[in-house]
Assembly symmetry: C2
Amino acid sequence: MGNIKIILAYDGTNYHGFQEQRGTKFVTIQSVLEERLARLTGREIRIIAASRTDAGVHARGQVVNFIADDWPIPVERLVRALNGILPEDIVTLSAEEVPGDFHARFSAVAKTYCYTIYNSPVPSPFWRLYSLHVPHPLDIEAMREAGRYILGKHDFVVFRALGTPVQSTERTLYTVAVNRSGLLVRLELRADGFLYHMARMIAGTLLRVGMGKVLPGSMPDVLCGREKRLAGPVLPAGGLCLERVEYGP
Amino acid sequence: MGNIKIILAYDGTNYHGFQEQRGTKFVTIQSVLEERLARLTGREIRIIAASRTDAGVHARGQVVNFIADDWPIPVERLVRALNGILPEDIVTLSAEEVPGDFHARFSAVAKTYCYTIYNSPVPSPFWRLYSLHVPHPLDIEAMREAGRYILGKHDFVVFRALGTPVQSTERTLYTVAVNRSGLLVRLELRADGFLYHMARMIAGTLLRVGMGKVLPGSMPDVLCGREKRLAGPVLPAGGLCLERVEYGP
């Protein structure tokens, strides 16, 4: 067995993000997964993730891969074996062998994030960890209009928090969808990649548009940096979920 | 202000049930609510609940009342004031003044509980605290058929765990509904009252019917006690939620 691809779902509430933080004792999704893989196989495994989700961010379709030579477990038994020893807030949805050149991060062609707002005068105890509670009425149409201005290929540097340096801050946003279903408002963002905090800053900007504090027509000025102060804020982590990662054919 | 009725929603995960357990230090919904009401008003308040939900059981529509004479807070401000100091897993949905003879438990004419099953080969990290994970396929029609046999007025003593003595074990079950929505299967039970563990034991029996381990046609024998061993098991608390409590006109 060579290169293994795994799809994961997790509740990020109790983790300090996906990526192992060397020199710290913070529990991360990566540290738990690598520890369990080592326990299963007696081998040291290093995993690569499509997206290094932040502390408190959730995933329904995170993708990881790892190279496993001389591997003792048939891949078709891996889902059950891993779920048997993972904590209940991390679940392996699927496992398969992939070509040797598959790389969870570099092979990804698109990622979809969803930001969930619980829009009701009173909060919900059941959504408190998976949404942002917004008691004010929201203008969904205005949020959609604002979203249309940022669709496509742009320099998204204003929607980026300080973080690790990147080569380019240009990204292509394929989808900005805003939908209400009962008391939930969901913002879906699909792009070829996301800058650090980009999804949560776009969500924060659209939320302010929905509350009438920013006009949809200001979005071009926000995007080009003329109205940089209107970008954001970075919304809290709990509302964000990595929905899926897409790969080429 | 005299008699105050409050509707509550809570995530029961972190509580040892609703009712305060005297002589123990367990944190209950009641102890938290009474402590916060005392903090708000400077008075000692004793609350009465429609249902004393067990440890880990949730509520979307628990009803409580309390007598508050010489009360310092207008009832229309109570929802916001309470939610401002309650922990995030307990939420006040509404508050109103009611006639002096209203009693959250004794005035109730019907209660609805819902048991949620997450029916998928792999579990969900997001439903782990609010459902029972059942990987086996379920025969929803068989569960519905079994449910029809227990509708109406019966002695439900076989669906009762040992607990506080009650005067009568006769109850009237008005609704047994079984519905699938995506990966969720929901069992809704509406009755004039529930015996200790009755909802979770009926859910356990219907689950075994759905798995093909008990025939729907056995239900009359289960109910009358001839096949008592087929009643139950008591399903885990996390799947159960008190949906609503109804009162007369």
